[in-house]
Amino acid sequence: MSRLRKTELAKVGFGLIVAMIVTALGCAILALPGEESGLAGAVMLNLDQAGAKNPVTAVLLNFRGYDTLLEIAVLLLAVLGARALAVDESADDSEHFRSSINPVLIGFIRVIAPVMIIVAGYLLWVGGHAPGGAFQAGAVLASLGVLLVLADINWTQHLSDYSERILLTISLVVFLSVGLATMFNARNFLEFSPSTAKWCILLIEAVATVSIAVILLALFCCGKISNARKYHETTRGRVE
C-alpha cells in the first residue's frame, strides 16, 4: 500500500475517532441539568466583602487571586521565552519602509490614540462594578501600541532597557507585595480585609493594566518593545 493511501486512511480513521469524542461530549452536555447555580450563590453571598461590586472582578482579584497572580507570571514567562528566541537582525531598508507608510494611518492614530487611552482608563475603573477590568484595559492599550508600531512612530526612544524591564515585571511585584502585606494582618496570602479590599484591588488592577499592555505589546514585537522598529523593518524587508 502506498504511503499516500496510508495517510488518507489515517485521516479518515482519526476523523471518526474525533467524531466519536464530539458525540460523547455533546451527549454529556445534553445530559446536564438545565438549571444549575454553580458557585454564583457563594459569590453573591460574599460579594459585599470583596471590595468590587462586579462579581467577575471579585472572583478574579479576590476569591481566586492566585489564578490571576499566576496568570501574570505566565505572561511574563511567555515574554521571557519570546525574548530569548528573538534574533537581532539588521536591515537597511528603513527609508523605503518609512516612505511606504500610509499617511491615512498616521492621521487615524492621531484621532484614535487619545480616545483609546481614555477608554482604557474607563474600562479599568468600571471593572469595579460592571464588566471591564485590568485585562480589557490592558488589551486596549496594547492595541494602541501595535498601531504605533505599524505606523513606525518611535515612542520608545526614551525608554531604556532597564525601565522596560521594570514595566514588564511591576505588576507581578506589586501583586506579590500586596499579597505578602496582607499576611502582616494575621491573614492568609492574598486574603484582603473587607475594609481595604477595594484599594488593594484598584492598586493591583491599575499596575496590572500597564504591565499587561507592555507585555502584550512586547509579545507582538518579539519580546522587546524598544526594538519594535528594528523588528518591523526586518519583516518588511523579508516580505519585499
Binding site: R3, G34, E36, G38, E71, F135, F220
Partner: protein, 101 residues
C-alpha cells in the same frame, strides 16, 4: 434544546475541529491555529454553561476562568509563534517531516 446547549454544542464541535487539526495538520502554523480553535471551543462551552443559573446573572466563576484562559492562550500563542519563527529562520522548515524514519 435551549440557547445555552446550542452554544455549548457549538463549542464541542469547535473543540473537535481543533483537535483534528492539531493531530492531522503537518504545518506547524496550522497546528498553532488548531490549538487556538480547541481553546476557543472550551471557552465557549464554559461561557455557555455558566448561563444556566436560575437568576438574571450568570455564574461569575467560569467567566473569570475564561478571562484568565484567554490571556494565557494569547501569550502561549505568541510564544509558539516566536518558536516557529526561530525554527523557520534556522532550518527554513515550516512543516514537520513526513516520515519519522
Amino acid at each position: 434544546m435551549t440557547t445555552v446547549t446550542l452554544y455549548a454544542l457549538c463549542g464541542v464541535i469547535l473543540f473537535g475541529i481543533g483537535f483534528y487539526g492539531v493531530i492531522i495538520c503537518r504545518h506547524l502554523l496550522r497546528k498553532v491555529m488548531a490549538l487556538n480553535l480547541m481553546g476557543t471551543g472550551v471557552f465557549l462551552i464554559l461561557i455557555a454553561l455558566a448561563r444556566r443559573t436560575p437568576g438574571d446573572r450568570p455564574d461569575p466563576v467560569p467567566h473569570a476562568m475564561v478571562l484568565t484562559g484567554i490571556v494565557v492562550a494569547v501569550s502561549a500563542t505568541a510564544l509558539a509563534l516566536a518558536l516557529l519563527r526561530r525554527l523557520h529562520r534556522e532550518t527554513e522548515i515550516g512543516d514537520l517531516p513526513h516520515d519519522a524514519k
